[in-house]
Symmetry: C2
Subunit: 322 residues, 2 copies
């Protein structure tokens, strides 16, 4: 029941056909509180429980939405606990979106347990999960052959929440940016998983992947409500993921989020037969999109094959109501 | 082994991981001919057979690609014959793309037979099958709610084959256009199926659908290699499909193909939370795209659930090789 869990709960209350029946968080500050006390409009008759087993024993949920951590190491035991109760899982865990290459052992552990319990597990979100992997792979269905896949996600982060702005390093000096980058605290998680997702869908064998993180440098002083960024400091991040086939970069994912970025858009370029160039004007808002797709996938997971699934092998989701 | 079958066979020879093992056509002019004699580069060791049973008995194909007719009435017995042999079917039959509302009894007949024989059947193509149904439905996965779906497919038909140009009425007088339209010879088949596809994915109950066909009128004389279109005659067709919910047009599919059309593009507008506006520059070539997606789907059909499937409930396709 962090910010993402609360926003998803809020979206669920506004949807016909789905409702929240239980909420779990280990944070002692939240345990025992009603959802309504966390945010206006949420159910007043549901209290946050510290115990998964207790929370689901009475309520028998059809699906669990898991919005806790970004890495496979920590998400795996959480998933195993839920799956053991016979409940399918949709998670926003970035590394779960396509863990078969980056965390094969943990992926197999989850897959085996999900099969044994006859439920499906999937990692989703707007990115990873859609814009830089599932969508470009889907576009290639129109192609007789594909030479290269390029995806560009450019965002003017001034429209995003302050925690997101901090996450992308906005306002840091270049030394601070470098330091945080070395700590692994700055990266957009999931770019390598998106590369492997596309390669798997296209049946490409990759020699190697790269994940390059650079600051976007403020060309002049930038003043926002939340911060002032001096010229020369980082205004955000530019992260480039590359997947190589026979020494050639055939998958190029370019993620750029910075305050003051001139234009926001999501772009897919398939170089092949035919070429396909798709452009989403203004880009897709990450906060709304991730919460929405998580709910939308929660319907599809019910008809997916048991096991660890990806956005590439579940029935394609859509916005449902009723 | 009409134009579409030959082009698909040609694409298959150029792909790793898939090959043609048999060819069937009832056309006496073709029976007994080698594929190589129909088009250079196709296999010289495969002859066109008049008998499905004979053609597949030795070769045991994994999947049948069926490119014969556009309507459910005539495609159904063909599909039943193939399915009875335990072979899954991918077809370019437009009405098969989503027949559950327009031909429910035939859809059920196919579905039952496919289940009994433990194979899947699907209708695909670029349109219907992708651009005006599967793609916009997929985009809505990013949305918390959807108020309206608009799709615009605009094509300058000067770049398409002459049979396509004739199919859209290019060159006809307005009286001839009206006459052909009344005969049902002018319509783009599948627009209503695309509407029902989107409505089903979004769980919308439609009051009614409309399928309006109008000529695009030449504003000046148009001279192409194949024809001269006098000013005032039809340069092509504009077909608008609408799906209504509570009296309001919530799905609007605008298909426009005419010689001399200023711009070619494929556009999706989702009015909802958030709005999504996607634009494919230049549009997607229908001849290449339909052949390619048919081959790409032929892999996915092997892991689809048995029965009559749609592009909305098979694992999402991508361009595969190897």
């Amino acid at each position: 029941m962090g910010p993402l869990g609360i926003k998803i709960a809020d979206f669920i209350t506004k949807r016909a056909g789905i409702s929240t029946v239980a909420a779990v968080d280990k944070n002692e500050r939240l345990v025992g509180m009603t959802l309504a006390s966390l945010q206006e409009g949420l159910p007043a008759d549901i209290t946050v429980s510290a115990s998964l087993r207790e929370a689901v024993s009475q309520t028998r949920p059809d699906v669990a939405i898991l919005t806790t951590v970004s890495d496979m190491e920590r998400i795996t035991p959480q998933i195993l606990d839920i799956v053991a109760l016979g409940i399918p899982v949709v998670s926003t865990c970035e590394e779960l979106s396509y863990p078969w290459n980056t965390s094969p052992k943990l992926a197999e552990t989850i897959d085996r347990s999900a099969r044994e319990n006859n439920v499906a597990v999937v990692g989703t979100g707007i990115n990873p999960g859609f814009l830089m992997d599932a969508l470009p792979a889907f576009f290639t269905a129109l192609c007789q052959n594909v030479d290269r896949v390029e995806v560009n996600r450019y965002q003017n982060a001034v429209y995003r929440r302050v925690p997101f702005q901090k996450k992308i390093g906005a306002g840091l000096t270049l030394a601070e940016f470098e330091h945080k980058k070395r700590q692994g605290a700055l990266r957009h998680v999931g770019l390598t998983e998106s590369i492997h997702f596309i390669a798997a869908k296209l049946n490409w064998k990759l020699d190697k992947t790269e994940d390059i993180i650079m600051p976007v440098i403020a060309r002049e002083d930038i003043v926002t409500e939340a911060m002032t960024i001096p010229k020369g400091n980082a205004a955000g991040v530019n992260q480039v993921g590359k997947g190589y086939v026979n020494g050639e970069a055939k998958i190029i994912l370019n993620f750029r989020a910075a305050i003051g970025e001139a234009d926001s858009f999501d772009e897919v370029k398939i170089i092949g037969t035919p070429n396909i160039y798709s452009h989403i004007e203004g880009g897709v808002n990450g906060d709304i999109g991730t919460c929405a797709i998580t709910i939308n996938v929660s319907r599809q997971i019910l008809s997916a094959k048991p096991g660890l699934r990806t956005m590439g092998d579940i029935p394609s989701p859509a916005c449902f109501a009723g």
